[in-house]
């Protein structure tokens, strides 16, 4: 059906980008939402967000993606923004083992502040730097499998798998939502798990269906 107008969508999915400082979260976001990569991007202080509307099958989905600062002490501020997220990309830098070694801690942080039903993908970024790789693909894949996470390796620099990564996460969320929808009555607000008022309930959004956890 091609790209729809920005305002015309069936669902709003909130997705958060988490992971250590400097793994490339901001560039993954700008690659996905604006098809841009900045060599000279600024340090993210606090939280930023960006949106893009994509079509999956017959559903138009507005992905509201939140980019959070990776520095540990910022989590006091950033973790508040995990609330209501239905998807997460846990990003590490595959050329820096340390950023992968702490994935488990990030996962715990996420589950502490978001719903357990949240869709999570482990993302090894900077796959363009093969010669500097420190994290073997298989090792990361195993970790993802054992923890029930999706897994992909991406490069925000040369675009490899960026689109696919977000699409996979959004699709998985959509599948969950559709199942939920079949079993629940046809209410306007759809939820996975506990119900909560969403952010997007303006009167202008006629066709919007809010989803939040």
């Amino acid at each position: 059906m091609g790209n729809r107008a920005e305002e015309d969508y069936n669902f709003v999915f909130k997705v958060v980008l988490i992971g250590e400082s400097g793994v490339g979260k901001t560039n993954l976001l700008s690659r996905f939402t604006r098809n841009e990569f900045k060599q000279d991007s600024r340090t993210t202080i606090g939280v930023e967000f960006s949106t893009r509307t994509v079509t999956l099958g017959t559903a138009a989905i507005k992905a509201q993606i939140w980019d959070t600062a990776g520095l540990e002490r910022y989590r006091a501020i950033t973790s508040a923004y995990y609330r209501g997220a239905v998807g997460a990309l846990l990003v590490f830098d595959l050329t820096k083992h340390q950023t992968y070694a702490v994935a488990e801690r990030w996962l715990k942080e996420l589950y502490d502040h978001a719903e357990a039903t949240i869709v999570v993908m482990l993302v090894g970024n900077k796959s363009d730097l093969q010669q500097a790789r420190e994290v073997p693909t298989e090792e990361a894949r195993m970790f993802a499998e054992n923890n029930g996470l999706l897994f992909l390796e991406t490069s925000a620099l040369d675009s490899t798998n960026v689109e696919l990564a977000f699409q996979m996460v959004l699709k998985e969320i959509l599948t969950k939502v559709s199942k939920q929808r079949q079993s629940s009555s046809r209410t306007n607000a759809i939820t996975l798990g506990g119900a909560q008022a969403g952010q997007e309930q303006g009167p202008g959004e006629k066709r919007a269906c809010c989803i939040s956890l």
């Binding site: 400082s21 000279d40 002490r73």
Partner: protein, 487 residues
């Protein structure tokens, strides 16, 4: 510097051959001398050249560093008054604060900005002395640079992401990034509690653009310790949370419509103002504006951030109100707001000079702690099985109630004060009245006595004539009341 060539000839005096030889050796010697002189000259020239180049480089780097558009044009007279003040700076003389305030308001030439900041810091320190406990450890910059920091990785990751588009900092491991690294490393070693925190690199960067590394280190220490900016970077980031609350309260009290609009769209200050506080506006706003904000910070300290934030938001209130949803508001605050034109920025700066919010900030901070304590108490009391959503709704309701109650409390306090003062008034009036009554009664008694005496002295017939008159006299209101009481 000049040295004789180290050639020693063993010479025989009389031999003509030897004379010939001597001649030759003399020639050789002079040639040597010449060569050496020239060599020395060359070396000197090279040195001079290097010096020249260095000074040109310095000029060039100064030019590169100060490559930003100024907000507010600084008049020549202002420059002259600054020069005079800077002269005083060396003598550590206390300057009149009002006077400094006026000059600062008129502008700061960017070529003198670094010196002026150091001057302001000195003036501040002459007036506010930090208690010993809060002083930074006394370790020199050079000493710190020799050590290794545990924060090395975190600092390195941010080097290329601090003012990435500014010519001084953009070159990978160029002069700018190296200085920045040194400065951040030294600070992380000096302040072990804070270490390195994202945000500091922008503050350090702004300082480096205006002064040498060592001076920048001294000024970073000033901002962090003397003015207390380091609190917001501590690992628990508690102070930042308080600041977010204070900003929210300021909006609530002074820009209610805007506050409601942001609340309705679930936009809390931490979403847009965290970088304002953590980088002192340096990460998003144009350098000319940032430099101007720093001017005022060096004079007044942390509350400047609130003033600028408030002024920014209120100046754009109409446009923010036009944004209808969460996304467009955030977009406006993050992108459009920092992109305003120079004249708008000038207006903001002028406004900031006029503001005084220190009392409010203090009150809100106290309030925050009270609220926090109450929240904690109530959370102990709550049952854990209650659904989070319900608790959150109750929480937000309680927060709102709390705010309303606090407002009422403020009003009540004001009322009590006015009542107390009117009570005091009444009491003094009462005592005055009482004393008046006493004197009146005394007077009355005196009159009564006189009348009695007169009555005794007068013959009976005259007395009979006077009787109605005397009766009238007895009929004053006081007597009436008394007779009324005694039926």
């Amino acid at each position: 510097m000049e040295e004789e060539p180290l050639v020693i000839f063993v010479s025989g005096e009389d031999d003509p051959e030897k004379a010939e030889e001597r001649k030759k050796s003399e020639e050789l010697r002079s040639l040597w001398k010449k060569a050496i002189h020239q060599q020395i000259l060359l070396l000197r020239m090279e040195k001079e050249n290097q010096k020249l180049e260095a000074s040109r480089d310095e000029l060039q780097s100064r030019k590169v560093k100060l490559d930003y558009e100024e907000v507010g044009v600084c008049q020549k007279e202002v420059l002259i008054t600054w020069d005079k003040k800077l002269l005083n700076c060396r003598a550590k003389i206390r300057c009149d604060m009002e006077d400094i305030h006026v000059s600062l308001k008129e502008g700061v030439p960017k070529s003198r900005r670094g010196e002026i900041w150091q001057f302001l810091a000195l003036q501040y320190r002459l007036r506010h002395r930090l208690p010993n406990k809060q002083q930074p450890p006394d370790i020199s910059y050079k000493e710190l640079l020799k050590q290794l920091t545990a924060q090395q990785h975190a600092i390195l990751v941010d080097l290329g992401r601090t003012f990435p588009t500014h010519p001084y900092f953009s070159a990978q491991l160029g002069a700018g990034q190296l200085s920045l690294f040194n400065l951040l490393k030294a600070y992380s070693l000096l302040d072990q509690e804070v270490g390195y925190c994202q945000g500091i690199s922008f503050v350090a960067g702004v300082l480096l653009l205006h002064m040498s590394e060592e001076q920048a280190f001294e000024m970073l220490k000033f901002l962090m310790y003397d003015q207390g900016f380091r609190k917001q970077y501590r690992p628990d980031m508690m102070s930042l949370q308080i600041q977010m609350y204070q900003l929210s309260r300021l909006l609530h009290d002074y820009h209610r419509d805007l506050y409601n609009h942001l609340e309705e769209n679930e936009i809390s200050p931490s979403l847009y103002a965290a970088p304002w506080f953590l980088t002192l506006f340096a990460s998003q706003f144009p350098l000319g504006f940032v430099a101007r904000v720093f001017d005022i910070i060096f004079l007044q300290g942390t509350e400047v951030i609130f003033k600028v934030a408030l002024s920014l938001l209120s100046s754009q209130e109409a446009l923010i109100m036009e944004c209808e949803n969460f996304e467009s508001i955030v977009e406006f605050l993050k992108t459009t707001l920092p992109d305003m034109n120079t004249s708008e920025m000038e207006k903001i700066i002028t406004q900031v000079f006029e503001m005084d919010i220190s009392k409010q900030l203090h009150a809100y901070e106290v309030e925050y702690h009270v609220l926090q304590d109450e929240l904690q108490e109530s959370s102990y009391a709550c049952e854990e099985s209650e659904p989070v959503e319900k608790l959150e709704r109750a929480n937000s309701q309680l927060k709102r109630q709390n705010m309303e109650l606090l407002e009422k409390l403020q009003i009540a306090h004001a009322k009590i004060q006015s009542l107390e003062s009117s009570l005091e008034n009444l009491l003094t009036r009462e005592t005055k009245m009482k004393s008046l009554i006493r004197t009146l009664e005394q007077e009355k008694m005196a009159y009564q006595k006189t009348v009695d005496q007169i009555r005794k002295l007068l013959p009976a017939d005259v007395l009979a004539n006077c009787e109605p008159l005397l009766r009238d006299l007895n009929c004053n209101p006081n007597n009436k009341a008394k007779t009324g009481n005694k039926p």
